[in-house]
């Protein structure tokens, strides 16, 4: 069976798309990541034009993160105050990111910049997480986050200190603002939620309680992906609602199951799984950048 996608202008097997949505949704619920960095390549792999893939999956991320946040919210695992401060930074970041994207596109090397940014960020995050996991799982050292309630690092003493009662933090507002800003830039430039960088940043830089990280990052991602969806719909007309609907159905089911399973999974293993996935994607992208492609040519037909 196949259905025709009106914006991508091609037919797809809905069950393949459903399965992809469920797979990414499961990881999203389990690890508190949006999964955009996995979904975009998967969609492109089945032949969806990259512009449509990026725009559409930001739409599906809205649904996945809403359902994820509801599940976390019920367990009081969302720090709304901290999320809102991050969101403020996210708004500024995505505005600058959109401008930067246009500039890079004019220079004709946006694909390269996207790939390099992915490799850099993913590689960095994966390496940090792997080192950490190694300490915890192999050396049996204590979890390096929040050894005590009021653990602060130098960054926390920056000006504009603010209380975040839910997370029991008294830190500079510039820190969540800055993390949100980087996340916002990534939404605009890479077309992803940015969870894979937000989550470790919130753990390692903010030192927030680990149970609140996933819910709070998803809360912020609802808004950044929502803004991106709207901007994509207005500027590139590349949001395919039929494709999004199929992805959403798979995604929300996967996310709910993932959130439930997340409670059975020890945090060390959940982070190890997260780090491994990020590492695999980073290595694959780096490999593609540095090896001679099978086909040197790529062909782009103007849309009608």
């Amino acid at each position: 069976m196949e259905i025709y996608l009106p914006i991508a202008q091609m037919p797809v097997d809905p069950f393949v798309v459903l399965a992809m949505g469920a797979f990414v949704g499961l990881l999203s619920g389990l690890l508190g990541i949006g999964g955009g960095f996995l979904m975009t390549p998967l969609l492109i792999f089945i032949g969806i034009p990259p512009a449509v893939a990026v725009a559409t999956q930001s739409n599906q991320l809205v649904a996945a993160s809403v359902s994820g946040v509801i599940a976390h919210w019920r367990r009081r695992n969302v720090d709304f105050k901290l999320g809102l401060v991050m969101l403020l930074g996210g708004g500024i970041g995505s505005a600058i990111g959109v401008a930067l994207f246009a500039k890079l596109k004019a220079l004709g090397q946006i694909d390269l910049v996207i790939s390099l940014t992915y490799v850099l960020f993913l590689g960095l995050v994966a390496a940090l997480m792997m080192i950490d996991n190694f300490k915890v799982l192999v050396l049996r050292r204590n979890v390096p986050t929040r050894r005590k309630l009021h653990e602060h690092n130098a960054l926390h003493r920056l000006p504009l200190r603010m209380r975040f009662p839910r997370s029991r933090l008294y830190i500079s507002a510039l820190l969540p603002l800055g993390i949100g800003f980087v996340g916002g830039m990534m939404v605009a430039i890479m077309g992803i939620g940015g969870g894979f960088i937000l989550v470790p940043a919130m753990i390692y830089l903010l030192g927030m309680p680990i149970g609140l990280v996933a819910g709070t990052s998803l809360f912020q991602i609802i808004f950044t992906t929502g803004i991106t969806t709207f901007l994509q719909a207005v500027t590139t007309h590349a949001v395919d609602v039929v494709l999004a609907a199929v992805l959403i159905v798979g995604g929300v089911i996967g996310a709910q199951v993932g959130t439930r399973l997340g409670h059975l999974l020890k945090p060390e293993y959940s982070r190890l799984a997260h780090a491994s996935i990020v590492l695999v994607v980073a290595v694959k992208l780096a490999y593609d950048l540095f090896t001679r492609p099978e086909n040197l040519f790529s062909v782009v037909t103007m849309g009608n």
């Binding site: 037919p11 809205v62 207005v234 039929v242 062909v299 782009v300």
Partner: protein
């Protein structure tokens, strides 16, 4: 003066003769793409009162196609050079009564752009002949891979002496727009008669509705997509609460 009149009369006679020599039509002039579209089959029927071979060339709406070539810089493979082909056919397929080399001379095949090696692909700007050939070949290979260009020549069969037919398949990823279906009658390697029939491929029903709203009412479409996504996420949350 006399010569002019004679030439005019001869031309008129030729036009009249041609009108009678070849006529063809499609089983349908419209292909509608719905949500369940899986491709379409059309039949072309025609008749001719002169002996000869028939070649049918189907061309999709002209479009600009960019071909990029990767090269190595500092160990990284990036897009280094590119060619833009202006008004390239977005779809190209040929049907004929015999293999193309048996029905026309190579120069005639080239002149009438019959066969995949003769597709008219005009680059924007100048570039060395050799580079052009590789970009052209890359474009054709890529289009063949998605079944929008076809190297194989589909059969045209004669039913008796005058009537001929050809079956044409359009895949599900067929581009929308106006197509031209050119029917040529060849005799002794030369084109002696020609007729062109239009064909429209367009989205209809739901899939067209979505496309039109997305382009003409983009803000509304974006808002709708957001509301839908939020509602779906919320609904999933509500449903799973009880499970």
């Amino acid at each position: 003066m006399k010569a002019w009149v004679l030439a005019f009369l001869m031309l008129l006679a030729a036009v009249r003769a041609e009108a009678q020599t070849l006529s063809a039509d499609l089983s349908s002039h419209v292909i509608g793409i719905t949500t369940g579209f899986v491709g379409a089959n059309l039949v072309l029927f025609g008749s001719t009162d002169k002996p000869g071979d028939i070649a049918i060339i189907v061309r999709g709406p002209p479009t600009d196609i960019t071909v990029r070539k990767k090269g190595k810089i500092l160990g990284v493979w990036i897009n280094r050079s590119s060619a833009v082909f202006h008004d390239a056919p977005s779809f190209y397929a040929v049907a004929a009564t015999k293999p193309l080399k048996d029905i026309a001379l190579p120069e005639n095949l080239t002149r009438h752009a019959i066969g995949l090696e003769n597709v008219k692909l005009q680059p924007i700007g100048r570039m060395p002949e050799q580079d052009l050939a590789t970009f052209r070949a890359a474009l054709i290979t890529a289009q063949e891979k998605v079944d929008l260009y076809r190297d194989s020549v589909a059969p045209v069969t004669f039913l008796g002496e005058h009537l001929f037919r050809a079956d044409m398949f359009f895949p599900a990823n067929v581009p929308t727009g106006s197509y031209s279906v050119e029917v040529l009658l060849l005799s002794g390697g030369e084109v002696v008669s020609a007729q062109t029939t239009p064909l429209i491929v367009s989205r209809i029903g739901f899939s067209n509705g979505v496309f039109v709203v997305a382009h003409r009412h983009a803000a509304l479409y974006g808002t709708g997509a957001l509301i839908f996504a939020i509602a779906a996420g919320w609904a999933a949350g509500a449903v799973f609460r009880r499970v």
